[in-house]
Structure formats: C-alpha cells, structure tokens
Amino acid sequence: MNAADLLFEIAVEELPATALQPMVGHIAEHLKKELVAADFAPGNCLVREFATPRRLAVIVSDVVSRQQQQSVERRGPALAAAFDSDGNPTKALQGFARSCGVEPVALERMKTDKGEWLVFRSVAEGQTLSGFLESVLNTIVKQIPSPRRMRWSDGDTEFLRPVRAVNLLHGDEVLPLQVLGVTAGNSLAGHRFHAPGPFELASASEYEEVLLNQGRVIADFNKRRQRVVELVEACASRAGASVVMDPALVDEVTALVEWPVAVSGAFDQHFLELPKEALIQTMEVNQKYFALVDAQGNLQPGFVTVSNIESTNADSVKSGNERVIRPRFADTLFFWEKDAATELHTRAESLDKVLFQEKLGSLLDKTERLSSLCEYLAGEFSADASSASRAAQLSKCDLVTDTVGELPKMQGIAGEYMAAAGGESAEVCVALREQYYPLKAGGALPESTLGRILSIADKTDTLVGIFGIGEKPSGAKDPFALRRSAVGLLRILIESEQPLDLQSLFAHSASCFGNRLNKDYESADTVSFVMERLRSYYQDRGEPHDVIDAVMAKGISDPLDFHRRVLAIGSFRKTEAAESLAAANKRIQNILKKIEGRVPDTLDEKRLSETAEISLAADLREVSAELTPKFDQGDYMNAMRSTAKLRDSVDAFFDNVMVMVDDEEVRNNRLALLKQVGELCSRTADLSRLQPEAS
C-alpha cells in the first residue's frame, strides 16, 4: 500500500482548558517519533494537531502500512575463538548460535582487515502498522503528562476525563485496535448541540473538513483561536470599544468552545466606581469575559463573551451572562465600600491573627521584618528610609480586607487604592502594588525605587525564612514559589541596574528572624540558590552556558556585578584575542594544578633571566596597573581588553621559557609569574571554563 495519512483521535468528555495543547503536543511528538523510528514514516513527515474540549487528534502524513524487510546482521565470535583445536564449536560459538536461533553451521564468515569472524545474517519480515500501533498508542496516552487522572463508570481505564471513543484510520482503512479500553473506529461526534452526529469518516485526510462542514467543529486549535480573536474584536468594535486581550485568556476561551460565537453584554455604569482591576479580574478570571475600553483606555460598562452556540435567540445568551456578572459586581462593590470604612493602617493589628508560616510567625511578624529590611535597603538604594519603612508597615494590610478575601489577585492593588484614600504619599501607594511584581515569568518589574525596595524585601524574607527552616525546594516541590521569587529578585536588580550584595542582604534578613531559623542555617546556601537561578535566566536570553560557568566560578553575590561580567565575557569571547588567552589560561591552570605544595604569591623580578619572562613580567605590571581601576569600576569590558594585551607575551613565554627547570628557586619564581598572569586573566571570570567557539 502507498503511504497515506494516519489519523488518531480520542473523543472525550470536556477536557480541562489548560490541558488541551500540552496533551495533543505530547501525542503528536511521540507518535511521530515512534513511527519514524520504526520506519513507518519518513523523518520529514507532516504532523498536524487538532484539539477541542471534546477531542484530541493527530494526523501524521506519509505513513506506510508495513515496515520494509529488515536485514539483520550480528557479529559473533572471531573465527579463532569459534572452534577448538579439534574443529568443534566452542562454548562461545554455541551460545552465539543459540541466541540467534540457528545451528552453528548456518552462520556465515566475514573477513575484515583485523581478521575473520562468524556472522549471523537474516531478513526479517516488516511489522504491520496495526500490529505496531496498539501498544505504541496505549503507551503514548499513558505517558501524557497530566496532574490528575480519573476512572469512570466501572472500568479501569484512566484518563483526564472519560473517554467516549477512539478513531483510528490509515488512509481509508479503519484500524480496530484496543486503545484506552475501547475499540477504535471511524465514527466522529460533531458539535454537542448543533450537529451531534455521528459522522462516518471515509478517510483520514477528510477529518478536519468533515468536522467543519458536517460537525460544526473547528478542530484546529490555532484556526479556532484566530477565529475567536476576530469575532471578539468585531464584537467590541460594534459596541464602539476596543477589547483588553490577554493572550492566556484567548487560549482558555479557545479551549472551551468548538464553535465560537462572540456575544457582547453590558453592566450598570455605577459599577465603574470599583477599581478597574477588580472589574477586569472578575470578568477575566471568574467569567472568562473580555473587558472593553475606550480609545483612552478607560474601562467601559460592557464585556464580550465567547459562547459555544449560534443561539436561536442570541438575546438569551446575552441577558443570561449579564445576570451573572451583576450580582458578582454588586458583591465586590459591597465589600469594597465596607472595606473603605476602615483605614488601611489600622488593619496592621489584625495581621497577628494571620499566619505567614507556622515557624516563621504571623503576617505581623513578617511586616516587622520587612520594615527593618526596607530601612536597610533604603540605605543601599539612597532612598528615604522612613518612606520605605512606612511602605513595609502597610504592605500586608490589604490581605485582611474582604475585597482581597473575595478577589485574591487584588492583593497590592487594593492596598494601593486604600492607602491613597488614606492620604499616604504617592510613592508609598505605588510600592504597595509593585511589591508583588513581577506577577509572572517575564512580567513587568517594579518601576519605582520604593516598589523595588519593598519587592526585594518581601522576596528576601520569604527566601531566607523558608530556607532557614529547612524547607528549600526539591525537585518539582516548591510550594512557596521560591524559584519564582529568586528570579524576580535577580531581574529587579539586574534590569534596574542596582548593585546589591545578596550575601549581606540575606545575612541581615536572617538576623531579623530572631531565633526562628534553624541553628545551622547558613545564608550562603540561599545566596547560591538564588545565583544559580541565573543559569535559566541567561539561557532564556541566549547567553552561552560556558560564559555563565566562567562567571559563576567567581562566587559573586551581587547580581548586577555578575551581569556586567557576563556581558563583558560574552562579547570578549567573540574577539580574536579571547581564544588564545583562554587557551593560555587553561595551560597555566594545568601547570599550576600539577604542582604539589604551595606556589609562591610573590614574584622576584631580579631572578628573571630569559627575555620572554622579563617581558611578560613587565607587561603584567603594566596591564595590571591599567586594568585595576577599570575592574574596580565594574568596567569589565575594558578590563578584558587590557588583559588581551598579555596575549603575545604569554605566547612568547610558553614558546621560549621552560618552567619546570631543576633549579627550585627559578622554577618557583616562574610559577609565581604564571600564577599572577592567571589571576589577572581570571579576575572577571574563570576563562579556563570557556569552550572553544563551537558551542
């Protein structure tokens, strides 16, 4: 049979929205891999993915129904070892023949330039596609990464939601295999209400078309997503507004429908008294609505929702949704007005009733620590210490308001509004919001100095506290999201170009905990945990890992300092001088590594005799004088350029001078020279860790 499309569809009860894409991606990746590895499909076969709430499907192109015949060749023992002196098969030969399932006489001989060997050759019939697929498909679906699987009815099969059917077609041939506890067929279900079906699928290639034209289902996730975007935008523009479009919300909405239809609705103007963040959150998080804004970005009293039905009476869908949002907003407004009756700062007292962490005390305890940390940081950041301390004292007060109780993502934002109403300074108010930034990976960072200070203090206190009670993250377990805090902390310091030594900061933080932390806690562990996060930070930014290794080896605890070194080494390694300097440095390190006993630190210039060593020592002195001020200013780029001047004299030294001479004093003096050169080269980063430019 000629190559044809292979369709694999799992029809299922409504899947969790966030599961669709990862699941279908897993199936596509592994099915292709298995088919290609077993020679059922060429490496360049096309794989298409389809995902809706009720189906996951993959089509692989150019799949054949039977593998090519497989030639097998296995080399056995050498001829010399195969027969004993009497010419009888040895144990080795007998064993080999048995493992091939033949008698020794059936083996062939193979000559190579290294001698003659016995060899087993055979031709195996290729496997059929249907013989191959059953266990492969069942293994693939079993290995789909998913947090929670379930059983249903009285069966043993496990999946994310109950499986209703499996469809498996190769070209126009149905492969009736047992997958996920059901017999695969070719009967498609359409849209749950518009066109339930079933529709018999004649050929794998027609899958998408049959679902679209007969089933009223847009099966391709990306096409459906595009349609959602168009419909929502058109709907908003008909309402004379534009739409706030969070890409994650578009994904989620796309995963909740098979046939998107956008519907706009309105709510009472007076709800606009609420902070717009609260309204947007309720709409996005609870209802999956898109919020509307005017040309100036002001929130409008309306929304767009995406339904899964072309309603016979669209007004029912519209008015139904309006009915839902109204009491939700009314509730939020009720809490908001109730909260407004209490001034934010007076809530500090009730923070002692809210636990931060059992061993680390209440939110009040945390607030007091933050206050001290903020004052410390204000010194480092040249900011006003009393403002910083004020921001800290107010920072957790909104957590005990009803508004945040109802809408947890309002934390910080509610605080900002309430602090402003209480007459706090603008910078304190903004800091309350910014303390939780970045909200997600790659999210916006605090822009105000006070916001940075409070955010760093908050993250530091959590990191040091949780490490201090021995609960540091292990594997996938990171309940306090310490990795995220660490990356946030690093990004703030690096991207706002703020120097700060984490070692001193963490030590200060640890001292704020009194005797709550474990006695053997070392804040250096927390520093290296945080600094280690830089690896993934730079990986995302495409910095080569050897550059990171080279800088990491210096044990630096100031993230900005680290960053400047990475940038300098990153561009220095592209220069011509870099490679030879790195090679020379590696050579120096190799020599020094082999020395038993101490290499002297000081160089006695009077003992230098060879021209090359005298000139290296002179260059060293000169370069060192030139480099040191640059280095001290953190101008690593120019410091590295200065270092590069040593290249020629180092090369000349190795070409002309013998280091390991018998005269101990001369030898030690040369070693001392090399040691100093090495130290100078590696002041910015350990150059010996740089890989040749291939990486």
């Binding site: 209703r164 209802q287 339904s307 039905i309 016979t312 029912s316 009915r323 009491p327």
Partner: protein
C-alpha cells in the same frame, strides 16, 4: 415522561404540579425526570450539613462495589454565607438537588442535559458548557474530577466523578450532580432576588421564598455570627469525635457517621465566629477527616459482612 419544550413559558400550565415557574414545580420536574432515569427518589437527610454530598446517599454509597441510583433535595448550611437576609444571592441555608449514580452511566452527560430540557431549557438557545472544576473535600477525605456546568455563564450544577471517599478509592465510580436550585429558579422565573422566588400557590395566594425563609436567614445569621456559644461548640466537637470513635468500635458506622455530620457542622459554626485560628483550622479539618475515614472503613466492612446486599439484588435482577 416530561416533554422537552422549546421555551420555559410553555413548559406547563400554571396549575400543574410540574410548573417549572414555581420553586416546588421545579423540584417536582427534577424528581420526576430522575425517577424516570432509574433513580430512587430519596428525601433530605434530617441533620445539618454543608452540602448534599454529606447525605449518606452520596458519601456512604460512593464506597464499595454496590450500585446506587438516587436523587433528592438537600438543605445545605453554610454559616459563613449568612447575610441577615440582606443579600439577594447569598444564603446560609439553601437547597441543592442531588443526583448520585453508581456506576456512573456512559451517557451521564446526556442524561444531565436532558434534565435541563425537562426544566424547559432549549439547548440550541442557551449556551451550556462543562468547565473544569475539580472537587475536593479535605474533611471528607474525598475528591473527584468534573465540571461546573455553565448556563449562559452561570454556574448551575456541580458535576463530579468521585475518585476517593473517606480515603477509600471509589470503584465503581459514583457520578454526582448537585444543582443549585435557587439559582436555576431565579433564572427561570426572571427574578433578581432569591426572596422574590415564587415557591407555590395556595388558596390564600402565592407564597414566596422570602415568605418561607427570610426570617430564618435573619435569625440564623444572628445566631451564626453573634450568639453561637463557642465554648460549648468546642465541647460539642470533642464529644462528637469521642462518640464517633466509640461507635466505630461498636461497629455502628451509621450512627458514627451522624457524629461526623454534627462535628463538621459544629466546626463550620466555630469558623463563622472566627473562633478558630488559621493553624488550629488545619488541625480541626484533620480531626474531621480522621472521623470520616474511620466511618468509611467501618461502613465498607459492615456492607461486606452483609454480603453487599445491593450487588445481590442486581444479580437477581430485582
């Protein structure tokens, strides 16, 4: 069989028992519909509980191999949700309509959608969606996967496939539906306040939900938030825990289960009075869980000793 109709208005005549435009009519329609799908119509459990799940028809019947099809209304008490009768949407006492089917039938979703049609919802007019919602009850040692069902964006039903109950894996799986019937009724009747719902007609005129329950909401809120004797409640909780343990040892899992119910409700009352700190809260939850686990195990054992009678009934085709 209730005929699915195209509009709510034409669902039934005003005098019919099955008029979905009254609260009681809606309940009748649901009972009738699920009885036709093979469920026995049970009655509410006569003790305070936080949700229909606590009814023995769900919690205990989810355990063990015996089949079970049942439905019933259940009054649910959530002391912290009391609003003194002032909030049109929040109540400390409200009703759920509960359906338990074990093993969950293959077409349970379709059966559920049929019940919406029976209530008069045209599924080509309204936007009905199954949105992921995973249910977990730490106090019951139970969890399941499923959805909240959306009707034009409103959550009207909690739909769960039970995976574990009282710490015991559910096999076969019980499918549970919990309708929020006040919400559905407000939608059907087009009223903005739960208290404006028409409950039913009497010779002296229509009776509203407010007529039946408003005073109760005011007084119970006052009790829950202001007057519940917390010192006494802590004592009651301790007694429930002790009694539960004793009854389990006596191999009386059903009375022991009532101690779980009482303990759990007492805990909710203490919670409403903010009498339990965050740390203590976790410990109380674990204490209730300990009780429900012990009961679940004792119940399974007692059914086994009886030879799982409902299995035998199935085999005999009764």
């Amino acid at each position: 069989m209730v005929t699915p109709s195209n509009t709510i208005e034409s669902a039934a005549t005003e005098t019919s028992v099955f008029d979905v435009r009254s609260f009681q009519g809606m309940i009748s329609v649901l009972q009738q519909y699920w009885a036709e799908q093979g469920c026995i119509v049970q009655q509410p459990y006569d003790m305070e509980m936080g949700a229909g799940t606590f009814h023995s028809s769900t919690f205990l019947h989810a355990i063990g191999p015996e089949p079970w099809y049942a439905c019933h209304t259940q009054g649910s008490r959530r002391p912290t949700d009391g609003r003194y009768g002032d909030n049109p949407n929040r109540l400390q006492h409200y009703y759920q309509f509960q359906v338990a089917m074990k093993p969950s039938p293959q077409n349970m979703q379709e059966l559920y959608l049929g019940s919406l049609e029976a209530l008069g919802f045209d599924l080509l007019e309204h936007d009905v969606r199954f949105v992921e919602d995973n249910w977990e009850s730490p106090t019951l040692g139970a969890w399941g996967l499923g959805w909240e069902v959306w009707l034009n964006g409103m959550e009207v039903t909690q739909y769960t496939y039970f995976q574990q109950c009282g710490g015991i894996a559910c096999k076969p799986v019980l499918g549970e539906l919990a309708y929020g019937i006040e919400r559905l009724a407000m939608y059907i009747q087009g009223v903005e306040s739960v208290y404006d719902l028409l409950w039913g007609h009497t010779p002296s005129g229509p009776v509203s939900y407010g007529d039946v329950f408003h005073q109760n909401e005011v007084e119970q809120s006052a009790y829950n938030f202001e007057h519940a004797d917390t010192a006494e409640m802590f004592r009651v909780f301790d007694i429930c825990e002790r009694e539960c343990q004793r009854l389990v040892e006596l191999k009386l899992p059903l009375p022991a289960y009532e101690q779980v119910l009482r303990g759990s409700h007492t805990f909710n009352l203490l919670d409403a009075r903010h009498a339990i700190s965050v740390t203590e809260r976790q410990r109380f939850i674990l204490r209730v869980r300990g009780m429900s686990r012990a009961v679940a195990e004792a119940y399974l054992q007692s059914r086994e000793e009886l030879g799982f009678p409902l299995l035998a009934a199935t085999a005999a085709g009764l």
